[in-house]
Point group: C2
């Protein structure tokens, strides 16, 4: 067996997993998403399997209005724990796995974000990552003194400046700033502590940060944007991108589009890992995998299912569930809706089919099959140059993760695609990412 490039694996673990009816599974603890013990179980299982990182997506509020009526109270994706608080607790009971939390640049201040992620990086011994998002719902805006979400251009302009400020704050202390010389009484060398003095369009931030340089130099940056500005932020700064592509051609296009942008920032193509999301149903046989899938889907009531299409396509409850998907009436269709529509057209899906697929993986690509079947698909993407790894989004937790470990991991390792031991102690080392240089050094 020749040595081949190792894939990177993230585990997305928001709520009880990505399936809309996860909480109704007979073996699921429906209250798990508010329990530390649930997440300890998940994170420790992922660490034992040598995942690069666990990841928590986030929205700052309860996103789903009750549309269509009756859907909201069927959703367990309403009560949860704040992700940074949760990951910090998990850092004390894990030792190698990366800890990636989402935080919005639209409804936060850069000083807080720089400080919290730097602290998590210290506390975890170099395992922190920040998934940079700009938020997307009016429900979030209404928790932060606004009526509606900030519009795209302003939001991303703010995001780009926000990320630069945070990176600047993370450079406040040079690596060797703390001399801590008890004899002379000098704790640090003032020439190696730097105020940022940032004055920009959206922020004025003096600094310096009150957290010293972190084990990873700075936390790992993650992005998940598909728009122009989102991809530029990723190309300029991110080490990881979580992608959503449902077919190889789209995936390949996205991958190359993103990688082509790296050169102008002086970065190599391998400095940014592209990790499409996958929601996997698996078992000993294909039919067992499909039974698990069907059983879960049967637990999705129609209102709940339709609510998954609502945000992107509006209220479809007046249309026959088993009829074709209508054209969206909203002229400003988002990229996610476009993906959904393309999929519906290509595969001739009914409304029920479409919400079933969406509700099965929260919009993530769904794979159903045995270990070798699923790994064939993963391998095809890697070999085609459409993925450097995958962000695994199990339908139910911890069950779907256990299935992944049982059925997928051995096959990945048999093919030499995934590590059997961590390469290093930090997330940066495990990702094979370079240490960032401090701008002042």
């Amino acid at each position: 067996m020749t040595t081949r490039p190792q894939i990177k694996l993230g585990l997305s673990m928001r709520y009880l997993g990505y399936h809309a009816a996860a909480w109704r599974h007979p073996d699921a603890d429906p209250a798990g998403a508010s329990k530390l013990s649930h997440f300890i179980r998940v994170a420790q299982t992922a660490e034992a399997a040598k995942f690069d990182m666990v990841f928590l997506a986030d929205g700052i509020g309860i996103r789903a209005r009750d549309e269509p009526p009756g859907a909201l109270s069927q959703s367990a994706q309403t009560a949860e724990l704040e992700p940074l608080t949760l990951l910090s607790a998990l850092s004390a009971v894990t030792s190698r796995i990366g800890l990636v939390s989402t935080a919005s640049t639209t409804y936060n201040e850069p000083f807080h974000i720089a400080r919290k992620f730097a602290s998590l990086d210290h506390i975890s011994g170099g395992r922190a990552g920040w998934n940079i998002v700009t938020s997307w719902s009016d429900a979030e805006a209404r928790n932060f003194n606004r009526e509606e979400h900030v519009e795209y251009a302003t939001r991303y302009e703010r995001a780009a400046e926000f990320v630069e400020v945070v990176k600047g704050l993370w450079d406040s202390w040079e690596e060797d700033a703390l001399c801590m010389d008890k004899a002379s009484g000098r704790f640090f060398d003032p020439a190696k502590l730097h105020a940022l003095n940032h004055v920009g369009k959206h922020f004025r931030v003096q600094g310096p940060l009150s957290v010293k340089r972190t084990p990873q130099g700075r936390p790992i940056l993650v992005q998940a944007g598909v728009s122009e500005v989102g991809m530029e932020i990723a190309a300029a700064s991110a080490e990881v991108v979580y992608a959503v592509s449902h077919d190889l051609e789209t995936g390949l296009g996205y991958y190359n589009n993103l990688k082509d942008r790296l050169e102008k920032y002086g970065r190599g193509r391998d400095e940014l890992k592209v990790m499409p999301g996958l929601t996997i149903f698996t078992g000993h046989t294909e039919s067992e995998a499909r039974e698990k899938y069907d059983m879960m889907n049967a637990l999705v009531p129609p209102q709940l299912g339709l609510s998954y299409l609502y945000g992107q396509m509006g209220d479809l409850s007046a249309y026959p569930l088993d009829g074709p998907v209508p054209e969206p009436t909203n002229p400003k269709v988002r990229s996610i809706a476009r993906n959904l529509l393309t999929m519906a057209r290509n595969d001739n899906l009914s409304i029920r089919d479409l919400y079933t697929i969406t509700a099965a993986g929260f919009g993530t690509r769904v794979l159903i099959g045995t270990g070798p079947q699923v790994v064939d698909e993963m391998e095809a993407w890697v070999d085609a140059g459409a993925a450097d790894g995958f962000n695994i989004c199990p339908p139910i937790l911890p069950l779907g993760l256990d299935d992944f470990v049982t059925f997928i991991m051995p096959e990945l390792r048999r093919r030499g695609m995934f590590r059997t031991e961590y390469e290093g102690t930090t997330l940066r080392e495990n990702l094979g990412a370079k240490m960032p240089k401090n701008r002042y050094s």
Copy 2:
């Protein structure tokens, strides 16, 4: 021995302890304030000793400018971990001790604060507390798009509204809102989830909070204000007040002033615990205690010492160190400076004496003596009705905490003043505080 009311004990553990030169002690790990392992050691020791809570003060930025020049680089109180992130990690490696973090109402948004503290309350099994402050330095303001700190009236008006919004968000979910009925597919009862729809002068916050009702109903509220509005916020909402009083008469006045305010909020005098801060130097003998004190003070260089007076009294470096303390030139003297001046006049202190006392305990009252001597003083305050307990601020950590456990705890217990076992599993139970009623129930 008759049963007497039990005192409450907090352990304040910011940085490496409250003494300005803590990091220079021969046995101190000077890098400890950025290490999780240091805080685990401290929190687990405090828990073994049955402290009610550990507490982290906070400032959002490096407060000390280099005034007088040369002081800043002598201070270890410059690099630290963000307190909520740190307490969350500690929640996973402790099981009974309360976890109280400071957060500013001036430079935060109520939704974030409500969400993070509620999450910590779940994660810790009901041990979270929030120390409500309004911040105080221009250095903090400059990290949040401002030139100067927000002025007093606006800051406290915002604080009062902020606290009301946070309490409202914590009521979003009624206790029994989550039915989690797998059979019917109903996860929660929508009649028991409440949007706040707050519209006020400083905030518009729709809610509901995305965190379900917490083990303590809501986290414990702590306040440390001495001004009119600060004390009203405490009387209206807080279960604990950290006080700074240097003599029994002032302490008694403050205590009664605060307790007298409770009735108009329909609260009993025992629903708010007043806990003055104490920095203690102790040992087998009084002279051993004093040697520890003198040895630490000898490690404070004059610039560093003067920097402790700078914020309140301006630059005193032109005056003779061993001469009298001059009248402050700033006409708007803060309460802390007033306390310092009164102390200097009463005890005929030189500038060096004053900065020594201040640097020894960061302005907290300092006691030096054997266990029985220190406990005499604590008992006198409790018996006089000036304290319900104490916020212990060791000069050095973990050393000063170990001394407290060795020399003070046995004497407190001998006199029946402090518990030998926790009464309950939540901070609220251990404080003997009532469960709050949900406004919607």
